[in-house]
Symmetry: C2
Amino acid sequence: MSKANRIRIKDIAKEARVSTATVSRVLNNSNKVTAKTRRRVLEAVERLGYVPHHVARSLRVERVYSIGLIVPHDIDYLFSFPYFNLFIHHLAVEARTRGYHIIFTTTNGDESVQLHKAFAMRRIVDGLVILDVSDEDPRIDALTELGFPFVVIGRPNHKLPYLWVDTENEEGARRAVEYLISLGHRKIHFVNGPQHLAVSRQRFEGYSRALQKARIACEPTLIHNGEFTEESGYAITKAILHSDKVEAIFYASDTMAIGGIRALKEAGFEVGRDVSVVGFDDIPSASVVSPPLTTVAQPIALVGTWAARLLIDLIEGNKPVPKSLSVELKLRKSTRGGVTVVGD
Amino acid sequence: MSKANRIRIKDIAKEARVSTATVSRVLNNSNKVTAKTRRRVLEAVERLGYVPHHVARSLRVERVYSIGLIVPHDIDYLFSFPYFNLFIHHLAVEARTRGYHIIFTTTNGDESVQLHKAFAMRRIVDGLVILDVSDEDPRIDALTELGFPFVVIGRPNHKLPYLWVDTENEEGARRAVEYLISLGHRKIHFVNGPQHLAVSRQRFEGYSRALQKARIACEPTLIHNGEFTEESGYAITKAILHSDKVEAIFYASDTMAIGGIRALKEAGFEVGRDVSVVGFDDIPSASVVSPPLTTVAQPIALVGTWAARLLIDLIEGNKPVPKSLSVELKLRKSTRGGVTVVGD
DNA sequence: AGTTTTGATGTAATCGATTACATTACACAA
DNA sequence: TTGTGTAATGTAATCGATTACATCAAAACT
């Protein structure tokens, strides 16, 4: 391992009595090599225990075989992004089957755009996965201008076209609210995420569509913007209880719903009987809280898989198309009569 | 960005009318440069928007400024390892303050050792974080033989010395069981993790010590080996209930405890009154299940921080020493009388 | 046999930095 | 003015691969 006894391609060439070019050809499966020569080279590789030097190869072929994932420093983010570990895991699995690694780092909001640019310009990675996007996200402009490959998780508004993977947020929210309506609820509070996030807009869109279809007026006083955190779910619910008689609440994330349930219980409500609660995401805790949460499940593993797949296609010059992944409403006990299966 | 209009150090040299060597010296803060020259170079860098090429630099300085994290393919693992998100996040934060990135990939058990060796030999990373270790883990032998820097999360038995970061598993288990004893329990079931993991041995050690101190016999029939998964916690608990009258169960992970609580509820027990349950890890769900779980909290963020810190120290030739991090018993509602604070 | 074609192999440039060593410029002393 | 020492700068080798192009050997054709 020490530099001295390190085996290089040159050593293999000498051992197999061929040129380094031939060794390289064998290693890269070029077909322009005699079977006999190939065998001799491979034997030498075996005998000397040679493995290629990744950095040297990268310098020449101008590819580092890795994709970058830069997440905000802000710790809440990792928890508000449901199943982050599932996502990164499946991202990595798919990447690995294609011969790529994940390069992971964190950033605070201020330096985020700069860091994305730096990753691109320094060629630390071959492409980037963009998380936590808002409308007109500046990273999209920056990377597009650099001509650098990237895929966006989510589907924000932007003047430029871009490659994305998204779950059907609008559809999911619509189905959740339609379900609440089918249960007989008419006044449905909506605790949404931060306004600047595209995902919040889409979930709101679904909420409002469902009401529209049922000819229920969309009351601005029923709409609340949280932070996707448990604390904000708790606080907003407290506030709602303070000013209103509540019968149904749709939370744009399970994390907020869990905070909300805590507030409701403290106020003496029995969730699932006195009040219906629906979440979004289906995080691990969702099935384990009391009562188990009715929620819109996101296929987060698939999001990871597709993000890697599309990004690597883009890097390798194929022509990937954006991918939309469908969601599923999981009926559990936090809603009145959570047994009936509801179609669309 | 396209190869053509890429700025290299050569271009800066020409622009500033100096040699590439001088540019490099300015960029690497060598002191052997006149203030005037330095200024001229920096202006050129600014004007042309130069950023160094990471791979080219790495090839020459023989350092890639990244540390590797290879986790088993097996999906259950990510959930049984509590707070994986938190861990990787803090690992990345600390690494970043030192100028390093995380390279993340997955593996199945069979190729794990080979993959760790490949990462080392191909110089894909400068050092490795070793997770999920068992006694006499072959990765420790392989990397030691290669003379490659690595840090182990946990503290398995091994004939060779190695650098590690660990939480006080034995201490934590001991305190948990002592607490159960202080509550008046004498027959305490222990649902442990897989036998081959060092962490299971250590938690067992703590369990057995606590009993010993209280002069309670350690009954082999009370010891069970699970998989750290919710399903196994559920199944084992079912089995226990089938053959025995139960009063207290200590689970070696919250995930298993949550499965266990489900089994207990189904059997009509009220956890926290009829039976005491203690978990280990303090995963996010722990505070949110019903009843909230009394558990041993691991300082997982610190584990991440210290892992990065020690590994980078090792890479850079400092002489880091292993780090032990203390745990905390969190009293909640799953134990009888979960209000009293218990010292040691 | 001589010429052309084809396919295998070798030589050397290249990727973009860093750095050992050589050279130059300058300050100061004699 | 010249010599000497020191600090700044330049030249070119180097890191370890890949690959364009040159060369060579053998097969195929006339």
